[in-house]
Amino acid sequence: MRCSDEGRRGGVKELRDLARQLLADGTVDVVVGWEDSSRGARPIFAGTPEEADKLIFDTRCLHNLATYLNPRRKQVTDLGKLALVIKGCDAKAVAGLLREMQLDRERVVLIGVRCGGVCEDSMAPEPVALTPETVAPRCHGCDNREPHLVDHLLGEPRPEPPVPLLTLDERVAALDALTPAQLWEYWTAQFEKCVRCYACRQVCPMCVCERCVADKSRPQWIETASHPRGNFSWNVTRALHLAGRCVGCGECERFCPAGIPLAVLNRKLQRVVKERYDYRVADDPEVKTPIGDYRLDDQQEFIK
C-alpha cells in the first residue's frame, strides 16, 4: 500500500472491506490491525463496522501484532476469535507460536499484507516516505515481504525497501571486529542503562512463557536487581532463549526506554544460527527450530 492517497484508497479499501465482512458474517469477533490516531499508527481492536473502517496500512505500521496472540493475555483471549493483520515478519512470529504449540490455528484468521518496508517512527503524523535515512534497518534483507502463512493476502506487490544508512549486519560485523575488552566495555555500558522494565520481553511475540525464567524465585537464577550484573544475566539469557526463534521484527529495541541496541544482539544470534546450522526463521510452522533439534555432524570446533 503506497504512502499516498492513491494507496490509501486502493489496498486499504480491500482491507476494510474484508474486515467488515469477517465481522458481519460472524467469522471473527474482532479484527486486530492498525488505525490512524493521535499517536500516529497504533493497534486497533475493531469489533464493529465503524471501527473496521478505521483500519490502515502504511509505513508507520511497525508493530508486530502477533504479540497479541500470547495465550497469557486474558484481555485478548476474552475477545473471542480474532483476525490479525500481519506483515511478513509478523507472520514468522505467528508460525513460531504455532510451531511451539502456543496457538490454536483455528483461533485466528490471518490477513497478510504485502509489505515494502516500514519507517522507524510509528508516531509520525503522516505515513513516511522510505529513504535510506527513514527506512527501518530491520527491513534490510527481508525474505518475507509477501507472507505465506495467511488466510487472505492483500495489497499490491511492493518494491524492495531502500538500503538503510547503517544495517544491522554492519553493526554486528563492526562489533565482531573488536577485542574482548572493547566488547566488554561496550556491552556493560549498554546493560548499565537497563532498568528491568521487561518491555523487550512484553512486546516480543516469542516471549510467551507463563513463568519467565527471570520471574523464577526458587531458586533465583537471574538476579532481579537492575545493576549491570543482573542486567547482564537477563539480557544474555533472553537473547539465548530467542536463538533460532527471533523473527527480527526489531520491536524489542524500539520499545526499550533505555535505548539498548537489542536488535543488534538478537541479529548476532540470527547470524550464528544461519552460519552454523544454515537456518533462517520462516513462516512455516512445520520447519523445526534449530536449538530444539540437532544433526550428528553439527559444528563443534569450540569443543576440545
Binding site: 574482548p180 566488554w184 556491552w187 550484573r229 539465548l240 548476532k268 552454523r276 546450522y277 550428528l296 569443543i303
Partner: protein
Amino acid sequence: MSNETSTTGLAGDSKAADFEPRITAFVCNWCTYTGADLAGTSRLRMASNVRIIRLPCTGRIDPLFIIKAFERGADGVIVSGCHPADCHYTAGNYHARRRFAVFHDLMQFVGVDPGRITFSWVSASEGAKWRDVVNEAVGKARELGPFTEYRTLNQHNVSADHVREPAVCAAATKGGEEA
C-alpha cells in the same frame, strides 16, 4: 574496583604470586566425572583449582549455571561430557552441543574472553585428557587474571552520589581485594 580492571581484564595485582584461579566444572556423570575419577586414581598430577559439579548429562546444563558461576566468583568454567554418539541418554550431548555453540558465540560477542569458558568431550577412560583440559583451563584463567570485573558488575560505574554498597561477601572480597 571494576573501573580499573575492565580495559585489560587483568586486575592490578593479578600477577601477584598468590592468585589462584577458581574454576567451576560442570561435568556429566557418566563420562567426564568418571574420567576425572580415573585421573585421580591414576595419580595424574594436575592443577587443584577445579571444583566439580556433577550432573546427569551435559544436556542438563543450562547456560545460566555458567553465568551464576561467574557471578559467584569463578574465574573460569569448564563444561564437559560424553563424546557424540556416546551419550548415556542418547542425544543429550547433541542438544547441548547446539546450545553451547550459540552460548559460546554470544558470550564472545558480549566481551567475555573465550579463554574463560572451556568446552570438552572427555570420556570415562580419558583421565589424561581430563588432566590436560584442567591444566589448560587453569593456565588460561591465570593468564587472564581474576574475573573481578564480572562479579563486581553490580558496582560498575556507581556514581558519586550513590553510596557504595557494603561489601561483606567472601565472593566479593576474594584475595582481600575490596569489591
